[in-house]
């Protein structure tokens, strides 16, 4: 693995403050000195030539880009002239064409994700997980992968502005100096700051300074999607704010109540890894964990479930209480639980009994989790249950979070009230987008109008910036210094990979500026904080080591010894949500969930817009999800537009019928329908704001739905969800597996496969192959985006996806099995299978696709004429065709996200997965130079590296000790369509479920 390079290479010229990564810009600066260039810029920006004196601003940047093109046209009419300017002083350790890797950390709410970022000549191009960091363990999620694209977003704002007029940072500093002294004198009366939640020591120290400097000024953290309820519930019964850390690997039995811990919850990457580790089997002798899921909308967690029960989100509270009651009945002592427990009838009762029994059997080795959308009371009860089961300290522990700024919805409500009362004259909104995603009954935008000066630090000209006076460009985390703590307290440094492209400043820099009217570089702030943690002795060594590793070693805190207070639980249960509002035909519920776009902040990231939702397979839209039965009762079908009403509030949205959805429960993703997200994300989908208020923030009952008779086209990447009884995803229960260990290969009778000619032997050298363990693949889509980022895969837009022209090389096939209303779900990653006897190769008339001697089905783009025959003849339909020149309109800045090792394909060319051939070549060259063989695990395909569950393994199948060979030797190994003699190099390990024999199998209950 090429990720962690040695200490020397890693350190970003640590001696100099405010690291200047001028590698990319230096040449442009020099270019900017040429007279032609100046003339052109002057012509292009007649009023803005003064910009030239500023550091690189966005307009200037675009100007340079535009000018360099224009220059080419002026200097010669025939042929574009491009100037190549050498480094005057070459940066250390930089070999042009050779990637460098730097550790950094991505702050995300109270989480922090340790990353390793690949950088080419000073531009970050690819995100990987940092294997040392406890929140990623080397893996990533789709969102983390897409951070390079969000960095190079052309819609980011490029300069400071006041009421729409461009200003400079100096202007703002000048303005603030006056304000500062006024407010300082008034102890902060009239000022307030609104941020996102942070878990950063530097930010925490700034918050402390804020409190000291402006004792009367509130600091509110608000998140539209967060674990606020979890923290609140936990604090309510333990009396202390803390962050949970789940150890799914240690749990034999997991019960998830409306919780999508494998995909959408805060720490999904390590949750998925832990869960997979508890589930992975190597032979029929192994055991695996068991997952029970009760949820309203189908999630990937529900898809992995051994038993899934459809329960409306509104009823989960009662369900949890009934579980507690059942556990108590079975002899568990839950201090503080009175006998008022709810009960359910029928199959739910039976389900609860069995689950409780299973939990009782695995005390200390079980885990109950509830979803973030459930109210705090449910979380309190869940903590109490885990406590009673002896799980705390085993499968879950809680860590102190002294540096955390917890998100607080009520705080936002208080602040809004103050704003409305005219008590706030200056409001600072640092990041976040409250105008778009604050609860709509707060009327935040209206309240903003009553604030004298709104200072906004943000990425783009979004909804909030539109309502602000001062708009300050914010640096991306890949452009800024910072520090973070992960949920277990591990301290990691956010290290910039590139100088701010758009003259942005990081939140800590800006807040520090606000606190003193003095500009302090983030670099200094972070070093100061770390010095406070490590002490002054030997600080430089600590600093360099921390930058290199991406985290401060041994900085994780010890778990707290929390006591669950019975009286606190009693209090909680007194105000516990009841069963009275159970959903029914006349009382629908709406559930707001976060999809690919999270709270909407990723709306302008094309990769995430085009990434099919793992369950619905919808792209570029959100839709009202409902069960087939509910849709039938309402008389609506896919793409029909319905009006949802809660009281007087109404919202129109298209319908998408989802098998497995709880009846009478509707779900709608947040983060869509933005009006000012940018060129990519504006006006995509519907905004839930109309229905999402303080009281209906997560879900609400009392919804009515009626058809409008209108229709709205939706683009889904997969139209057919049934496997048609074909042996694609082969699956058995653990019991069946033990009985017939070779069930997977036995499912298909493969005739003796003969060949007309002497086959190539493929028995020497490296023979590349891949194994995908379906038993642990959750379908999280990280591989899809990792592949997109690594291989420069184009996005094509909603219309093209609707036509079936999406370009993902690695896609996730999702199938439903069983009844339409309550099916099982299974996911299958599907990319080129690198068939040894590839059907595509034979039919290409110009031999543009061929086999190499290492077993790769290679594609010669510049030979391809685009007959598309090879797609027709591919049984796996993994080839993608450039029907148009999809990359033609890529903005110049976005081109910087491209991987220089991979060709950008143009119109008329067929493309497909290559097993990351560029990585293979790179590793082979490196090994050759060192006169050795490529070691197992040295080459990781992008999908493999990203995979949170390590379901994908790539390597040399001839080496019997390689991971991939060992997986392929397992008895669950099978190849899809082996019977038609394609001899795929990718094989799958069959999926297993571990159902409780006391319950009917999944799909037949509910």
């Amino acid at each position: 693995m090429s990720s962690i390079v040695d200490n020397k290479e890693m350190t970003l010229s640590s001696g100099t403050p405010a690291v200047k990564q001028k590698r990319y810009w230096r040449s442009l600066d020099q270019l900017a000195e040429t007279p032609e260039f100046k003339k052109i810029v002057a012509k292009e920006f007649p009023n803005g030539t003064s910009e030239l004196n500023d550091p690189v601003s966005r307009r200037k940047f675009m100007g340079i880009m535009g000018a360099s093109v224009a220059l080419a046209g002026l200097a010669s009419c025939r042929r574009p002239v491009q100037k190549i300017v050498p480094y005057v002083i070459a940066p250390d350790n930089l070999v042009p064409g050779k990637a460098q890797y730097y550790a950094t950390a991505m702050p995300f709410g109270l989480s922090a994700f340790g990353l390793l970022v690949e950088s080419h000549e000073g531009r970050p191009t690819k995100i990987e997980g940092n294997t040392l960091h406890p929140s990623t363990l080397g893996s990533t999620s789709a969102q983390m992968q897409s951070m390079t694209l969000s960095l190079y977003d052309p819609d980011r704002i490029g300069s400071v502005s006041l009421d729409g007029v461009d200003q400079s940072w100096d202007d703002f500093v000048k303005f603030w100096r006056d304000e500062f002294s006024t407010y300082k004198a008034a102890s902060g009366q009239g000022i307030a700051i609104l941020t996102e939640s942070h878990n950063s020591p530097t930010m925490a120290s700034l918050a402390k300074r804020w409190k000291k400097m402006f004792p009367k000024a509130p600091w509110v953290a608000y998140e539209s999607v967060s674990d606020e309820n979890i923290y609140a519930g936990l604090a309510a019964v333990t009396g202390q704010e803390s962050l949970p850390n789940f150890h799914y690997d240690k749990a034999d039995v997991v019960l998830a109540l409306d919780s999508d811990f494998l995909q959408r919850d805060s720490e999904s990457v390590i949750a998925a890894r832990g869960f997979a580790d508890g589930r992975r089997v190597t032979s029929e002798k192994d055991s695996m964990n068991r997952l029970y899921v009760a949820e309203s909308l189908f999630t990937l967690t529900g898809g992995m479930a051994d038993h899934r029960l459809r329960v409306a989100s509104t009823e989960i509270a009662a369900f949890a209480l009934a579980l507690a009651g059942e556990l108590k009945r079975q002899g568990l002592t839950i201090a503080g639980l009175s006998s008022q427990a709810m009960s359910f009838a029928g199959s739910k009762k039976k389900w609860l009994e069995v689950v409780a029994k299973d939990l009782m059997k695995s005390r200390g080795k079980s885990l109950v989790v509830a979803g973030r959308r459930q109210p705090a009371a449910v979380h309190s009860l869940v903590v109490a249950i885990n406590n009673a089961l002896g799980n705390i300290g085993e499968t879950v522990d809680y860590h102190a979070a002294p540096d955390a700024l917890f998100p607080n919805r009520d705080g936002l409500a208080d602040l809004t009230a103050k704003m409305n009362a005219g008590e706030i004259s200056t409001l600072i909104i640092a990041d976040g987008n409250p105008v778009y995603n604050a609860p709509s009954d707060l009327n935040f935008a209206e309240a903003l109008k009553k604030v004298g000066t709104v200072i906004r630090l943000g990425n783009s000209n979004d909804e909030t910036a539109g309502a602000a006076n001062w708009v300050l460009p914010m640096a991306h985390f890949l452009e800024s210094w910072g520090d973070t703590r992960s949920t277990d307290g591990t301290l990691a440094i956010t290290q910039p990979l590139i100088e701010p492209l758009y003259d942005g400043r990081s939140p800590i820099e800006v807040i520090s500026l606000l606190l003193g009217g003095r500009e302090t570089p983030g670099y200094e702030l972070v070093r100061k904080t770390l010095r406070g943690v490590t002490g002054k002795t030997n600080f430089e060594a600590h600093w360099e080591r921390t930058l290199h590793d991406g985290l401060l070693k041994n900085s994780a805190t010890d778990p707290l010894a929390l006591k669950v207070k019975s009286d606190a639980l009693q209090n909680v249960l007194k105000r516990y949500p009841g069963q009275s509002n159970a959903v029914s035909n006349s009382n629908l519920e709406i559930v707001f969930y976060d999809g690919n776009l999270h709270d909407g902040r990723f709306a302008n990231v094309g990769w995430l817009q085009e990434l099919p939702d793992p369950i619905t397979k919808l792209t570029w839209d959100n839709a009202v999800l409902m069960s087939p039965a509910t849709a039938k009762r309402l008389g609506v079908d896919n793409t029909d537009v319905v009006t949802l009403k809660i009281g007087a509030k109404a919202l129109d949205a298209p319908v998408w019928v989802m098998p497995g959805q709880a009846d009478n429960s509707l779900a709608l993703a947040v983060g869509y329908g933005r009006v000012a997200a940018g060129t990519v994300g504006s006006s995509v989908g519907v905004d839930v704001a109309a229905l999402r208020t303080m009281s209906t923030f997560n879900f609400a009952s009392g919804v009515t739905a009626s058809s409008t008779g209108k229709n709205y086209p939706l683009s889904s990447s997969q139209d057919h969800g049934s496997m048609e009884d074909r042996p694609l995803i082969r699956e058995a229960t653990l019991a069946e597996y033990r009985q017939s260990p070779t069930f997977a290969p036995d499912m298909v009778e493969t005739p003796p496969l003969a060949s007309l000619w002497n086959d190539f032997k493929y028995d020497t050298g490296y023979q590349w192959g891949m194994a995908i363990d379906l038993n642990v693949c959750t379908g999280c889509n990280a591989c899809t985006i990792a592949c997109q980022s690594e291989n420069n895969i184009a996005i094509v837009g909603k219309e093209q996806v609707g036509k079936g022209r999406e370009m993902h090389w690695m896609r996730m096939d999702r199938y439903f099995i069983g009844e339409e209303d309550d099916p099982q779900m299974a996911q299958q990653p599907m990319a080129c299978q690198q068939c040894e006897t590839a059907p595509c190769e034979q039919v290409c008339p110009v031999a543009a696709t061929n086999h190499d001697k290492e077993g790769l089905n290679v594609m010669v783009y510049n030979r391809c004429i685009g007959t598309r025959y090879y797609s027709n003849n591919c049984p796996y339909k993994v080839r993608r065709f450039n029907f148009f020149n999809y990359t033609k309109d890529t903005p110049e800045v976005t081109k910087m996200a491209m991987n220089p090792d991979v060709t950008v394909r143009s119109r008329g060319v067929m493309e497909k997965c290559t097993y990351c051939t560029q990585r293979i070549s790179g590793a082979k060259l490196a090994a050759k130079k060192e006169n050795r063989l490529v070691a197992d695990g040295e080459i990781m395909s992008a999908c493999q590296q990203a995979c949170p569950t390590k379901a994908i393994v790539f390597g040399n199948i001839l080496d019997p000790n390689s991971e991939v060979a060992k997986l392929k030797a397992q008895n669950r190994n099978y190849e899809i369509f082996a019977e038609i003699n394609t001899r795929p190099r990718t094989s799958y390990q069959a999926r297993l479920r571990n159902p409780n024999p006391e319950l009917p199998s999944v799909g037949s209950e509910g």
Binding site: D719, E724, Q842, F884
Partner: protein
């Protein structure tokens, strides 16, 4: 004697092939005069109309080249759509000409003389239309020549294992031979026109293309030998070209394509559609140009019988596919065919069955076979049905193949339609030009089947071992 009428009770076994007992001169006059007099206004109107349609083709292709194949309704999985459907359809139509010229010539079907020129011209034009599609449907048209085997600095040859390459050879060979065959057949008639020409330009132009034909006995001897050899060469091509086209599908592994029945099935279908198109055109042309005595109702009757026979063949092929799918025990294959008849493209499948199998059954009735309006309508249905046959094969097989996750649906765009409609413009423009400038009926050959060609004291033809051994030059 021709057996074409042998089973026909009320058509005498020796019924004349040309009605009205014309003289050689009458034949020359009635065919030749069309090319010599001023074209009727209608002709100009039609040429104007179809040339505009051809311009639509040009525009559509231009836009296609500018934007890419994305302007069509293609996607993954349906990466081939109307372009390939149209290609196969036009190639199929191009079958009748050579079949009539070559195979019927070898089988001494003398009734062919009335329609062979016509059919051959149609073949040439249909293949031109067909050839448009493989050229333009590729993603990067500017390098389409890479499919040709030619020495190059890249040291690259095309992939000889690819059926698409075989296609390139098969269709281009067929086109070349058909063109030669047509031209060789034209030579005596061009000479006739040359000799009748009154203007200098006509004289020179026709003189060049008549290659100095004098109608001497020696020339006739060589001519007939050459024609026979070309007929013998063309005959296997009739069978091979559509067999090779069918390999595009049969050689792949796609359920619904991967079928050994395809070559004969495609050839039968091609003859079927080719005859239907010849009929469609002939019925109109004979009416407009008053050639009812040359292209007689008896000719049409015989062609109807051939259409009925080929309809039964394709009907058999359709049912055979189902049988083999069931018999193979291959679930993908079975699904492909059940899906055709009941799946998302069932509408196309049943249009195909109705047009190709059900409607031609009317031709069992002699009244239908000899009713111009009814047979005209039937031929139109067959043309439509055969287009849908190719649509069903190409699109429905692709849309629902191995992996249900990738299943899709193909919806044509306006550009698909315009490109297809545009080829009609090209076809009919060429055809109208042909009608105007070249003898649409093989004058010399028709003369060969006149009773006067074989004078006996009985007054009608006896020896039919030779054809067209008549002085065609001056009469």
């Amino acid at each position: 004697m021709s057996s074409a009428y042998a089973d026909q009770k009320n058509v005498p076994i020796d019924a004349p092939l040309v009605l009205g007992d014309p003289t050689f001169g009458d034949i020359t006059e009635s065919v030749g005069v069309i090319t010599e007099t001023k074209a009727p206004v209608m002709w100009f109107l039609l040429v104007g109309f179809f040339a505009s349609l051809a311009a639509v083709l040009g525009g559509s292709v231009g836009y296609l080249f500018w934007e890419g194949t994305g302007i069509w309704g293609l996607n993954v999985p349906v990466a081939w759509g109307w372009a390939i459907v149209n290609f196969v359809w036009w190639v199929g139509i191009g079958h009748a000409g050579t079949l009539i010229s070559a195979i019927l010539f070898l089988f001494r079907q003398r009734w062919r003389t009335a329609i062979n020129r016509f059919a051959e011209a149609m073949t040439i034009f249909a293949i031109i239309c067909a050839l448009v599609f493989p050229m333009i449907h590729v993603g990067r048209v500017w390098v389409v020549y890479w499919t040709m085997p030619f020495p190059n600095q890249m040291g690259m040859w095309p992939n000889f294992r690819s059926p698409l390459l075989w296609d390139v050879f098969a269709v281009s060979t067929y086109f070349t031979v058909s063109l030669l065959f047509w031209y060789v057949g034209l030579i005596p008639d061009l000479a006739t026109l040359r000799d009748r020409a009154t203007t200098k330009v006509r004289k020179v132009m026709l003189g060049i293309f008549a290659l100095g034909w004098r109608g001497s006995n020696k020339q006739w001897k060589h001519y007939e030998r050459a024609y026979l050899i070309l007929a013998a060469l063309a005959t296997p091509l009739v069978l091979s070209v559509h067999s090779v086209v069918s390999f595009d599908f049969a050689v792949s592994q796609l359920p619904g394509w991967h079928t050994t029945i395809f070559p004969p099935y495609f050839v039968a279908g091609a003859i079927f559609s080719g005859f239907a198109m010849v009929m469609t055109l002939a019925i109109v042309a004979r009416k407009i140009y008053h050639l009812e005595h040359i292209i007689t109702i008896n000719h049409l009757d015989v062609m109807n019988k051939i259409m009925l026979a080929t309809s039964l063949m394709v009907g058999y092929a359709y049912s055979c596919e189902f049988f083999v799918a069931w018999y193979s025990g291959n679930e993908f294959e079975q699904f492909a065919f059940i899906n055709r008849a009941t799946g998302p493209y069932a509408w196309a499948y049943w249009i195909m069955i109705t047009c190709n199998v059900f409607i031609p059954q009317f031709l069992w009735s002699q009244r239908v076979r000899r009713s111009i309006p009814i047979m005209f309508v039937i031929t139109i249905f067959i043309n439509i049905g055969m287009w849908f046959e190719r649509f069903v094969i190409v699109v429905s097989s692709l849309a629902n193949d191995f992996l249900p996750s990738s299943w899709g649906y193909f919806t044509p765009t306006v550009w698909d339609v315009l490109t297809y409609v545009g080829t009609f413009g090209l076809f009919f423009t060429l055809f109208l030009i042909f009608l105007r400038f070249l003898p649409m009926v093989a004058i010399s050959e028709v003369k060969g089947v006149l009773p006067a060609a074989k004078p006996t004291h009985h007054g009608h033809g006896g020896d039919d071992s030779h054809m067209a051994k008549v002085t065609a030059g001056n009469s």
